[in-house]
């Protein structure tokens, strides 16, 4: 699959997992793709913990369900009603979680390129996630990034040592289809904006002439 097709087809998947578990060869290829990501000072500060134990998946799903209720209850009634039908995770349906973590200690004291912008460390781990996501799309594997959780809970659940930070729980599994329209648009939560609104010329806020 071409880069542009993967970028266009990629979705944040919640409801379309088939229930089959991704095979090991495919899983390894998408992890290799993640591991090819650029990283500040070539530190590769990411780790990937693959979680498949059914009880552990259930425990995490229950925690996430609680966080979903908290968010629901924080919303004004109209927004809560819009939120109601939106599925926010496929933790058990996908059968595989990949927890991506960030180790700020990787690379020692003198990390080339991180002295002025320390956040470039964690940004590296996020770049790896997008590599993984696009490779998965090319393999017909769905990825759903779950962020309804407390970091401390997740750290405890899979035994992340102090000083290492969870960045994401990714639900990974074969899908029936990729939706054409992102869920949050389909369910009327929030629509996107035009690219031309996001592009500026020379200085921020100076509108984009059509460059095409």
């Amino acid at each position: 699959m071409s880069v542009y097709d993967a970028i266009r087809l990629r979705r944040d998947v919640r409801a379309e997992f088939t229930g089959d578990v991704v095979d090991e060869g495919t899983l390894w290829r998408i992890l290799e793709a993640a591991h090819c990501a650029p990283s500040v000072g070539n530190t590769q500060p990411w780790d990937f913990t693959v979680v498949r134990d059914r009880q552990r998946l259930r425990t995490f799903a229950e925690h996430v369900a609680g966080k979903r209720r908290e968010f629901h209850d924080s919303l004004p009634p109209e927004r809560a009603a819009t939120f109601d039908p939106i599925k926010i995770e496929g933790i058990e349906d996908s059968g595989t979680g990949i927890v991506v973590t960030y180790d700020h200690g990787r690379g020692g004291e003198h990390v080339l390129g991180r002295a002025t912008v320390p956040e470039t460390g964690v940004y590296s781990a996020v770049l790896a996630i997008q590599n993984l996501w696009l490779a998965a799309t090319a393999e017909g594997i769905g990825v759903g990034w779950v962020s309804f959780y407390d970091s401390e809970f997740l750290a405890e659940l899979i035994g992340i040592p102090a000083g290492i930070r969870p960045i994401a729980w990714l639900c990974i599994g074969p899908v029936r289809e990729f939706q054409e329209v992102p869920d949050l648009e389909r369910f009327g939560w929030r629509t996107g904006r035009a690219l031309s609104e996001a592009v500026h010329r020379e200085t921020f806020g100076r509108p984009q002439d059509d460059m095409r």
Copy 2:
């Protein structure tokens, strides 16, 4: 170009820019790729400021050169000697900078998925960068992420409003070639580690059996 080829060929480019400027059609396609990225709550919290004014590029390059000297001077002698030949930016050579910024205010008060992990906002902007990077690679366009700068200096240089945060300066331009081996490995700064060291099973630190 296939996803996997782009992931494999992608380099953080400093020295291989041809001096030609990326054409507007290509630039727009890679910005479209960035804009297709997933974002928490569909907030699309990124903006892209395209900088080509020669004087502005020079001013930024001089600032970065100063930060390079500061980093050099912070190193023990042996590391400083290893660092010396490493080029860290192609700001003027590439002829185009894209400043990626993050707006935490985008999406209003109730951002779906950001309540528990607020950093997912800025992570979204980083995912967009990796989309851009891979699309550029497929177009034969090099991308070099510069992080030797003070955020306040960059914000002032291109007039970023308060509350909006610069994430990256990306040097964008046609390249002669993509190096096969990352610069920091070629110059002996730091080598990568095996994927198997980064993958864990069920809990962090439990070694990966070979899953292939």
